[in-house]
């Protein structure tokens, strides 16, 4: 089993740890996306009894966004066998950065659906968008 544990604190503090799960995407208000920190990902839960999970600390500014998601989204595959993928997801996140978070998630789903071009999602997925507003 994989998972991300995240904690929102005061003044835009966002701490997270990953157990074999895609790290969150951090998009700054200007559209810049932080590169993925693969080194901070730990093993899936219950893989090793003594596994230690590193915490990553981010400090969000007003207008910054976080996207948490499961692999059913990035591994969605179209008829040609191409997966939606993290790069395409980051591009979509950037393209829709001016949308409200709710519209943003709707548009993300719409883009993933366009990529599938008529095929069905093979796996369930969860998307959570967070924006610092003040």
């Amino acid at each position: 089993m994989t998972g991300v544990y995240a904690r929102l604190g005061d003044d835009g503090c966002f701490d997270w740890a990953s157990a074999g799960h895609h790290p969150p995407i951090w998009m700054h208000a200007d559209g810049k996306i932080e590169p993925m920190e693969r080194s901070s990902i730990g093993l899936p839960l219950a893989t090793m009894p003594d596994e230690k999970y590193a915490s990553v600390h981010w400090k969000l500014k007003v207008g910054d966004r976080i996207l948490l998601f499961t692999d059913g989204l990035v591994e969605a595959r179209n008829r040609a066998g191409d997966v939606f993928g993290r790069d395409r997801l980051e591009g979509t996140v950037r393209d829709h950065r001016n949308d409200s978070p709710a519209t943003f998630v709707d548009n993300l789903l719409s883009q993933a659906g366009d990529h599938l071009a008529g095929t069905e999602f093979e796996d369930d997925f969860t998307i959570l968008a967070i924006e610092r507003v003040d």
Binding site: I41, L43, T47, E75, D123
Partner: protein
């Protein structure tokens, strides 16, 4: 030199104590379906045709060169195979993953748990170093 072939994989010797298991289908999701991974068709076939043949000190190379779909259940399959092989002191190597699958394995930190090479030839060389056995003729050079 073919030792076992079934509908889902082919198991061949690559030298003394080294076997390669080549999965033969791009999509084995149905064969990975089961109440538990030990009960799925793929694992039962693997247990029947591969596990029983192994002895301590052997090496098994799993070649994913033809596999296009890698659901979570395939990772569970690998963890179960790893557990079984470790209990028999058998060395396990994985090879031939597509870039899409490698990306997913990277997020799972699979390289910390498994030895992974790009090609079967690289896996064979690793096995050779590990087992110090002579290279036989007819070893394939592509994953």
């Amino acid at each position: 030199m073919l030792t076992a072939t079934g509908p889902y994989f082919m198991c061949m010797p690559l030298g003394d104590g080294i076997r390669t298991v080549r999965f033969l289908h791009p999509d084995l999701r149905r064969q990975l379906d089961g109440a538990s991974i030990k009960e799925c068709t793929l694992y039962r076939e693997f247990a029947d045709q591969v596990l029983g043949e192994l002895t301590s000190g052997d090496t098994v190379i799993l070649n994913f060169g033809l596999v296009e779909r890698f659901p979570t259940a395939f990772y569970q399959f690998l963890m179960k195979v790893r557990e079984e092989l470790r209990s028999r002191s058998v060395h396990l190597l994985l090879c031939g993953f597509s870039s899409d699958i490698l990306e997913g394995l990277g997020v799972l930190q699979a390289e910390r748990i498994f030895e992974i090479t790009h090609t079967e030839e690289q896996a064979w060389y690793k096995a050779q170093v590990h087992d110090a056995v002579p290279r036989p003729s007819g070893v394939p050079t592509k994953a």
